[in-house]
Symmetry: C2
Subunit: 377 residues, 2 copies
Amino acid sequence: MKIGILGGGQLGRMLLQASINYPVTTYVLENDVECPAAHLCHHFTKGNIQDFDTVYQFGKGLDAITIEIESVNIEALILLEREGVRIYPSTSALSIIKNKVLQKQFYQDNNFPTASFVITESRDELNAYEHLFPAIHKVGEGGYDGKGVKKIANKQDIVHGFDAPAVLEEKIAIVKELAVIIGVSQNMKVVAYPPVEMVFDSRYHLLDFQLCPAQVSDEIISKSQQIAREVVKKLNSPGIFAVELFINHEGELLINEMAPRAHNSGHHTIEASFCSQFDMLWRIMLGLPLGNTALIMPSVLINLVGEPKETGTVKYEGLPNVLSISNAFVHLYGKKETKPGRKMGHVTLLHTDIAGLQSQAEAVKSILKIKAVRTAN
Amino acid sequence: MKIGILGGGQLGRMLLQASINYPVTTYVLENDVECPAAHLCHHFTKGNIQDFDTVYQFGKGLDAITIEIESVNIEALILLEREGVRIYPSTSALSIIKNKVLQKQFYQDNNFPTASFVITESRDELNAYEHLFPAIHKVGEGGYDGKGVKKIANKQDIVHGFDAPAVLEEKIAIVKELAVIIGVSQNMKVVAYPPVEMVFDSRYHLLDFQLCPAQVSDEIISKSQQIAREVVKKLNSPGIFAVELFINHEGELLINEMAPRAHNSGHHTIEASFCSQFDMLWRIMLGLPLGNTALIMPSVLINLVGEPKETGTVKYEGLPNVLSISNAFVHLYGKKETKPGRKMGHVTLLHTDIAGLQSQAEAVKSILKIKAVRTAN
């Protein structure tokens, strides 16, 4: 089977790492010839994943295509899908999820629990919603890694709002944030991974610490999996999905957002689960049985992001110290340049002692720093 | 760092799979442009690993080179080593191991326990050793996957012996066969993996079932690790090594043979150990700390070899059934053509119940068959 990936970042890299166990011919489309995934496929094509002709030409003749980022040319994928190329996720699911306005409306239309919201078409419209502040403004299209999200605390913040179709969402007092990875086979069988509990770095809005299984009641665990399964089922698409959920002070679960692809909140599955999220996606695309989502061991995952004020050729400070930790698994994404907040790798720790895992995670965060090489001028 | 691999088979494939977690630029030299590892490196060079100029040109400018097969041009590696390219294993270790005559003499010279033997320079010489029959004849150079080993039961078998320098070895009554993977860092720190217990397929002499940890006494476990550590230490070379040992009826451990590279007997370490044999080799070559050889869970490994009389485009009969086993990890090597006895993949099973693992292994062997597609003529 010939399977293409749109985008060549770390998700593509880890997806290709998992492909190595299967008989599949892999294709990557990406503008950056030195991207993390470029050298790990059978056929690399340099090109813009947002350009219609480029995506269409890339996809013609392939059996299937998947994405590692939502900002792809969906019109080309729709045409390819009509011509018989299987797209994971389906273009209808992708259309809904890639636009935060449509995504929010989808939750509302299908009665899934989510924070209340209004839709704004321009920045000016925010003036009409002062009574909803403090609130979160999320741009409909093009937001990624926190770039499309602004906090609007008061009238003075309106200037930071998006002058484009966007969602203005109630600011929830969050007790915890969970994420559930869901796999859907070609014949619509659905499996859910155990929820992870996420902690965000307030500086860059990048996930940087996650614990699996989440430290919540069994009821919350099964309810979060149930909501995640159901919302993904409604999309009626095979593929891998991540569903992020908030727990509010009333103990209610609210859907924050979804991703129609392998997700940072599922990277621990590489070592912590019998079948990783990446392995699962290959099984789905190759028409093979879904894998086992059970945990081999509890895990903690630490994202390695570029330190503030560090821009340039990457160096990994403290790497030997972290590699000396007996239960640590280090993943570096092979990006040559670091910049503040850039995702450069992650570390997964496995242990049966969950309290111990959390203090180990703090230790890893303090030991391993992603910095730039200082060159003498 | 720029690191090259001589050979592009499944060992190279799995080594490159592990490289994906590290910032390293990879090079592969191999004649077959469709080999299992060809598409997984930064730079692929088509060429003969046994040719001096080809290997030398490939290696110039690299920081380090490793091998996935012993039959490489060692003269080129010796020159490269002199010029500062690090070779894993060192050429002196490789010279000893790649020749079974030198390897046997090395055990004898250093007082390591091994089956008694004589050295034969030609087939005719076997006539002088009738009193040693039944015995095993092992050719010095060029044997691989059992091809360089013949049983000489009696005078009539002499015709099957090797007409080249070879070892004629006492046929040991073997109770069990173990293998220990050893890692040696650049500064000669040595780590040993838990021994595995191996069962061979009598038809093709290919390992096809292995259990870890080996079901032997703690004393045998520590003694096998001790012998393996010591024999590898004597080679005075960084790298990954496999040491195969027999247990005879007296309960003694005898070294059968070594490999100066990642080995089939260590494939279970990918899932069963915190640090796999492939990960370990990258740590060694990149000058990073050695990893943790401890088991995450007991494991069984089944080799997937081409069925008898099946030659041609591969098909994996029973693959969905094995992928449905909740604790199975399937590795297919991506070879397009199968032939009888060819190594086409392996399956690792993890479970705390060792007896259960063994019956699961039998089930996998009966379910999954490597056959050839029949084409209508």
